[in-house]
C-alpha cells in the first residue's frame, strides 16, 4: 500500500482491494498451517462449565460412534469401488475448522487434510454476500491445492447450527474415481497440467436446505464419465453428514451445547498433548533415510527423496530438503498438505493407532521442504498421481521411525518394517457389458503386503498404507458390473518376500482380461520396476521390483476353449513358458497410460512385499521350511538367501547342516566386506553416474541434479523439470535407427 496515503485513503484502498480479489486461489495462510486453530471464546466458555473427564469421555464416544456409523452408511450406500471397500472417511470439524473426530477406519490421511477446505469456507464464504453459510447449506470440494489428497477424492461438508449459532461442521470424503480427467478413473498419469486432471473444485456451495441444486448437479454430472456415480456419491456423503448432524443434536439434547463444544476442543488439545508426551519418550536425535522413486509413470527416472527426521524434546521435525524437483508436466508431484497427510498416516495407523483420529496427531510435527520440489509442488504442476512421491515419503518416515521407537519404553504397536507402498491395480474406462460408460479403479490396490514386525512375520496382502480397515473387493461383484475378468485374481507369488529374520507379507499377482465389451481400456499407476520402492529394517531386505506383463495378439477365450491345458496360474509360467503360440509377450514398467484392450488379451500385475526385519541368517529354520512347504519360497531362496538345509526325507530343516551353512555364510560376509573407510573410497562418487537420469541432491542437499551430472540448480531456487513426450522420445529413437539403417 502506498506510504503517502492518509488513514482514510488507506482504509478506502484496503476495502477496494478486499472487495475486488480477482481470484480466490489456494490461501497460503490456510494451506501452510496444519496446526490447531486458537481456542474460541465459545470453547473457553464451554470448557469452564463442562470439564468432567468421565462425562467428556461419554460424549466423545457418542460422537465417535456417529462418525463410525456414518462411515458405514457411505460404505454401504456408495457406488464407487473406493467407497464400497473403505477408501473414505467421515468426520466432525469444530466451528474453527479443525477436524476433531473422524471414523476409526478408512483413509486416515484425510484426517490431516480436510481442515483446509473447511477453513477456506469459514474465511471466505461466511461473510461473502453471494455465498454465505446457513443451516442446510451443502459444500463440496476436491482440489488438492485447497487441501485434499488428489482430485479423484470428493468431499461433502455441511455446517451444523444450534439456535442460530454455527457450532461445527460434519461431512465425508470418498475416493469416487471418475472426475472427467483426461484419462478415466480420476488419476490421470498422462496429465501434463492441472487442467488435464478433471474437476478442480475449490470449496463451493452446491445446495441449500439439505438439497442439491439441480443446475449445479447437472453441471457436475456433465463434467464426468459417470453421471450416475456423481449423483449417487454426493447423495451418500450428504446423508452421512446429515446423520452426524442428527447425532450431534442428540448429544446437545442429552448433555448440552457446552458438552459438545468442550468435548470437540478437548479431544484435539488432549490428543496433541498425548502425542507430545509420547514423543518425549523417544530419544533425541536425527535419523536419516533415503528412498528412490524410479519413475514419473511415463518414464523411468530416479528421484531422490531425502529425509532427516529430528526428534527434539516433544516435537518431531521432518526435513525433506534436498529432495527431487517438481516435474511441471508430469502428475507425480505432491502438494505439501497432501504430503503432511500421508506422513501423519504413519503415526495414525502404524505408531499410535490407539489415539483419536484427528488432525492434532500431527500437531507437534513440522515438515520442511524446498519450494517447487516433488513434495511441495507449485500450483501449476499437476498432482493427480502424487502417490508416486508421497507414498515413498511415507516409506522414508516409516523406515526412520523404528530407529527412535525401538528404544522407547512405551509402544502402542510393535516395531514394524516398511509396508509395501504401491497401488498395484488396474484403472479402467470404457463401455461395460451393460453399455454403460464408466471409469474407475479396481479396489484390489488395497491389498498391500504388510511389513515384518519385531516379533512376527508380515501379513500377506493385508491392507493399504493409507487405510487400516479397507478391503480389496470381491471379484464376482466386479464381474457383475464391469467386463473385467481376472483369470487369476489374487494369488500370492513365490519368492515375493521381503527376506529377513521376520519376513514381509507377500503380495499377490493378478492376471486380468476383458470380455463382452466393444470399448475397454486399462491403465496402471505404480513405480518400482527398476528400483525397489519398499525397504526392510535392521538388516532385513526390501521388496523386489515389479513389471507390468502383457500378452497381446491373443484371445485366451478362443485359445482355451478346447485346450484347457494351456491355462497357467502364474505370471512366471505364462511369461516364461509362453503357452499361446502366436501371441506377443512383453514386460514394461508399471506406469501405463490408458491403453485399449482387445477381448482375451492378458494384463498381469503383482503386488509387492512388505520389508523384512532383521538378518536372514537369524530366521528360524522351521519357519523357512514352512514357507517352502507352503509354496511361498523356492528351494533357491531356502538355500541361497536363508542358508537353510532341508532334510527331504523328513521334510524338515536339518539343523546341524543349517548351522554349518550359516556359519560359512557369516565367514563369507567377513571376507567380502571391506572396512568402512576403504569401502567409501572405492564407492562414493562426486556426481550421479552419467547413465542415470537422477533428480535430487547427491552429496550436498543444497545442490539439486536435474537428470544429468551437469544440469543442476540450487535447492532454494528449485527449477521445475519439463519432460519430453515419451512418444517423441520413441519416435526420435526409431528415426535414429532408421537413419542408421539407411546409411548401411
Amino acid at each position: 500500500m502506498a506510504e503517502n496515503l492518509n488513514d482514510q485513503e488507506k482504509s478506502i484502498l484496503q476495502k477496494f482491494l478486499d472487495e475486488n480479489v480477482l481470484f480466490l486461489g489456494p490461501d497460503p495462510e490456510i494451506m501452510d498451517n496444519h496446526k490447531l486453530a486458537p481456542e474460541s471464546a465459545a470453547e473457553t466458555r464451554a470448557l469452564a462449565v463442562f470439564n468432567d473427564a468421565d462425562q467428556m469421555n461419554l460424549v466423545r464416544h457418542k460422537l465417535q460412534t456417529a462418525c463410525n456409523e456414518s462411515f458405514d452408511m457411505v460404505e454401504q450406500m456408495g457406488a464407487a469401488p473406493g467407497a464400497k471397500w473403505g477408501d473414505l472417511i467421515s468426520g466432525v470439524w469444530t466451528a474453527s475448522g479443525d477436524l476433531a473426530l473422524s471414523s476409526a477406519g478408512g483413509v486416515l490421511l484425510f484426517s490431516v487434510l480436510t481442515q483446509h477446505p473447511v477453513k477456506f469456507i469459514i474465511k471466505y464464504w461466511m461473510k461473502e454476500p453471494t455465498v454465505g453459510v446457513r443451516p442446510g447449506d451443502i459444500f463440496m470440494h476436491n482440489d488438492a491445492r485447497y487441501g485434499n489428497i488428489h482430485n479423484t477424492d470428493q468431499s461433502v461438508i455441511i455446517p451444523v447450527f444450534h439456535e442460530g449459532e454455527l457450532i461445527c461442521f460434519t461431512g465425508a470424503m470418498v475416493h469416487e474415481g471418475e472426475n472427467g480427467a483426461t484419462e478415466p478413473g480420476g488419476m490421470p498419469s498422462k496429465a501434463e497440467s492441472p487442467f488435464d486432471e478433471g474437476l478442480k473444485m475449490p470449496p463451493f456451495k452446491v445446495g441449500e436446505n439439505y438439497t442439491f441444486r439441480k443446475d449445479l448437479m447437472t453441471f457436475l454430472q456433465n463434467s464426468v464419465r459417470e453421471p450416475k456415480l456423481q449423483l449417487e456419491g454426493m447423495k451418500s456423503k450428504l446423508y452421512a453428514a446429515m446423520r452426524m448432524e442428527s447425532r450431534i443434536k442428540e448429544a446437545i439434547g442429552e448433555y448440552g451445547l457446552e458438552a459438545v463444544l468442550a468435548t470437540l476442543r478437548r479431544t484435539l488439545t488432549s490428543t496433541a498433548e498425548e502425542v507430545r508426551r509420547r514423543l518425549r519418550d523417544w530419544p533425541d536425535g536425527t535419523i536419516r533415510q533415503n528412498v528412490f522413486p524410479d519413475g514419473t509413470l511415463r518414464e523411468n527416472v530416479l528421484l531422490r527423496l531425502r529425509l532427516a527426521m529430528t526428534k527434539r524434546d516433544d516435537e518431531l521435525i521432518l526435513d525433506f530438503r534436498g529432495s527431487a524437483p517438481e516435474f511441471v508436466n508430469r502428475a507425480n508431484n505432491t502438494v505439501l498438505a497432501s504430503c503432511k497427510g500421508m506422513l501423519a498416516q504413519e503415526f495414525l495407523t502404524f505408531v499410535w493407532p490407539d489415539l483419536p483420529r484427528n488432525q492434532a496427531v500431527f500437531e507437534p510435527m513440522t515438515v520442511i521442504t524446498d519450494a517447487n520440489s516433488a513434495l511441495n509442488c507449485s500450483a501449476n504442476a499437476p498432482n493427480a498421481q502424487s502417490m508416486m512421491t508421497f507414498f515413498p515419503s511415507f516409506t522414508a518416515a516409516q523406515l526412520a521411525v523404528p530407529k527412535l521407537l525401538y528404544s522407547s519404553k512405551f509402544k502402542a504397536t510393535d516395531v514394524v518394517s516398511g509396508w509395501y507402498n504401491m497401488i498395484v491395480t488396474f484403472i479402467y474406462g470404457g463401455l461395460t457389458q451393460h453399455q454403460e460408460l464408466v471409469g474407475n479403479l479396481c479396489a484390489d490396490l488395497n491389498g498391500m503386503g504388510g511389513g515384518a514386525r519385531a516379533t512376527r512375520d508380515g501379513e500377506h496382502s493385508i491392507a493399504p498404507i493409507f487405510a487400516p480397515m479397507a478391503d480389496i473387493g470381491e471379484q464376482e461383484l466386479i464381474e457383475e458390473e464391469t467386463p473385467i475378468m481376472k483369470i487369476v485374481p489374487n494369488r500370492v507369488m513365490r519368492d515375493n518376500q521381503g527376506f529377513g529374520k521376520f519376513r514381509g507379507g507377500h503380495g499377490y499377482q493378478q492376471i486380468a482380461t476383458v470380455k463382452d465389451s466393444a470399448l475397454w481400456g486399462f491403465m496402471c499407476c505404480s513405480i518400482g520396476s527398476k528400483f525397489p520402492s519398499t525397504h526392510g529394517i535392521f538388516g532385513g531386505y526390501g521388496a523386489g521390483t515389479y513389471p507390468l506383463c502383457k500378452v497381446k495378439d491373443v484371445n485366451v477365450f478362443d485359445e482355451m476353449k478346447d485346450r484347457r491345458e494351456l491355462l497357467r496360474f502364474s505370471v512366471e509360467e505364462i511369461m516364461n513358458e509362453r503357452p499361446f503360440k502366436d501371441a506377443s509377450y512383453s514386460t514394461h514398467h508399471m506406469g501405463m497410460q490408458l491403453e485399449w484392450v482387445t477381448s482375451g488379451e492378458l494384463y498381469m500385475l503383482t503386488q509387492g512385499t512388505g520389508g523384512g526385519y532383521g538378518d536372514v541368517l537369524e530366521r528360524d529354520p522351521s519357519m523357512v521350511v514352512d514357507d517352502y512347504r507352503d509354496g511361498l519360497i523356492s528351494k533357491r531362496t531356502v538355500e541361497q538367501i536363508y542358508h537353510v538345509r532341508i532334510d527331504e526325507a523328513r521334510k524338515a530343516a536339518n539343523l546341524e547342516a543349517t548351522a554349518a551353512a550359516r556359519e560359512a555364510e557369516r565367514g563369507k560376509r567377513k571376507k567380502l566386506g571391506k572396512p568402512y573407510a576403504e569401502f567409501v573410497k572405492g564407492w562414493e562418487t562426486k556426481h550421479p553416474p552419467a547413465h542415470l537420469p537422477f533428480y535430487g541432491s547427491w552429496n550436498d542437499p543444497k545442490l539439486i541434479y536435474r537428470g544429468t551430472p551437469t544440469d543442476t540448480c540450487p535447492a532454494d531456487a528449485m527449477a521445475g523439470v519439463m519432460m519430453p513426450d515419451p512418444k517423441d522420445v520413441r519416435i526420435a529413437q526409431l528415426e535414429a535407427k532408421l537413419a542408421q539403417q539407411e546409411k548401411v
Binding site: 535419523i287 530416479l302 527398476k530 566386506g673 568402512y676
Partner: protein, 117 residues
C-alpha cells in the same frame, strides 16, 4: 545394573564409554557420537543375488529383479560375528547414509539419571 541401551535389533550404546556395540556378540563397534557404520564391514551386493529374476532375462527387460545399474544393496556386517546389522538400497556411488545420530548427552541424562547413576 545395565548401562547399555538397545537402539535397534543389533545395536546398543554403552552409555559410560559412549560406544556402539553389537547386540549379537558384544563387539565394540565405534564411538556413539559417530556413525556406527564406520566400525562395520561393508559390501556392495548385486541386487539380483537377493531379488533373483523371475522372468527370463534373455527375453524381457523387466524381470522382477532390480536393475543393477540403477540399484545396489550396500550391506553392513559386524566384523566380529558377521551379523548383517543394516543395509541400504542405493544408486551406484551414492553417498552412504549416516542414519542414526543421537543426542548422546540427552540419552545419558535420561537413562543414567533414571538408574540413579
Amino acid at each position: 545394573m545395565s548401562t547399555r541401551v538397545a537402539i535397534t535389533e543389533y545395536l546398543e550404546i554403552e552409555l559410560n564409554s559412549e560406544r556402539w556395540h553389537c547386540r549379537s556378540c558384544g563387539h565394540d563397534i565405534a564411538s556413539a557420537r559417530e556413525n556406527y557404520k564406520t566400525g562395520l564391514l561393508v559390501y556392495d551386493r548385486d541386487p539380483r543375488e537377493i531379488h533373483a529374476p523371475i522372468l527370463d532375462e534373455t527375453k524381457y527387460e523387466f524381470t522382477y529383479a532390480p536393475d543393477p545399474t540403477w540399484c545396489r544393496i550396500v550391506e553392513f556386517y559386524c566384523p566380529s560375528c558377521g551379523t548383517q546389522i543394516e543395509n541400504e538400497y542405493l544408486p551406484p556411488g551414492h553417498p552412504l547414509t549416516h542414519d542414526i545420530e543421537l543426542d548422546i548427552d540427552k540419552l545419558k541424562q535420561r537413562h543414567l539419571a533414571k538408574e540413579g547413576q
